[in-house]
Symmetry: C2
Subunit: 111 residues, 2 copies
DNA sequence: TCAATATATCAATCAGTGTTGATGTATTGA
DNA sequence: TCAATACATCAACACTGATTGATATATTGA
């Protein structure tokens, strides 16, 4: 499959490392679920725990990873800690990943 | 940060697993470099080895992972095995990942 | 100050993965 | 059939990361 000219962005060469780091954050289904859940707005850890059906330490662990990649913002209000999506573009990217993945799969299964 | 209504795609709930699987493939810098290198067109393993400066078994290993996620096509021609990108949308996604990552980083560093 | 709640961290386990060097396999040409 | 080349696989290692249960920390209200 020939690729259009200049399809490869040149500027990327230096940012591939951090791009891979972001990819790592998006490589776990629980983290993707958490990010999608935060589309509704900022939520407390306990709300996420209840919604995901995961243990509280596990949710904290994943939130820490999302924080490490700056994908979420944190805000403390009294007893509660609120997490929210830092940049909604990540939701677009997740959507494209899922769309591409299903396309690749269905394309293979149809042969 | 309030999020637009219906920003979260509903259909995704079932494809999050494979989306995460794709994310895992994009979580290694060497694999991203290989994918970008394949933008020039199909290449042999030895060509990729030389271009990347990685060992041949390591390149084969990463190509196997890209194959597992159906991100590349393989074609044997005599002694040589040619790899090519299966769907160029993955290049767009890598670009968006890198762009988002640099934005998030610069936004943090400016405070 | 104390009890209660929310969240983070710790310790431990287990599976997975990136990397390397050695070896195996497949294809071609002589 | 044999040698040479291209590629894949294997064995081993270190390292990371997901998960769990226990414990620590922080905040509030009494």
């Amino acid at each position: 499959m020939p690729v259009k000219e200049q399809e490869k962005p040149v500027v990327l060469d230096r940012s591939l490392g951090i791009a891979a780091s972001l990819g790592k954050s998006l490589s776990d289904e629980n983290r993707l679920r958490i990010l999608l859940s935060l589309c509704d707005g900022k939520k407390t850890v306990s709300a996420i725990v209840e919604e995901m059906g995961l243990s509280q330490p596990l949710v904290s662990h994943h939130l820490k990873e999302l924080r490490r990649c700056l994908l979420v913002h944190v805000e403390r209000k009294g007893l509660f800690v609120y997490y929210e999506i830092a940049d909604t573009r990540v939701i677009d990217i997740i959507g494209q990943l899922a769309c591409l993945a299903t396309d690749l799969l269905s394309r293979r299964d149809s042969f």
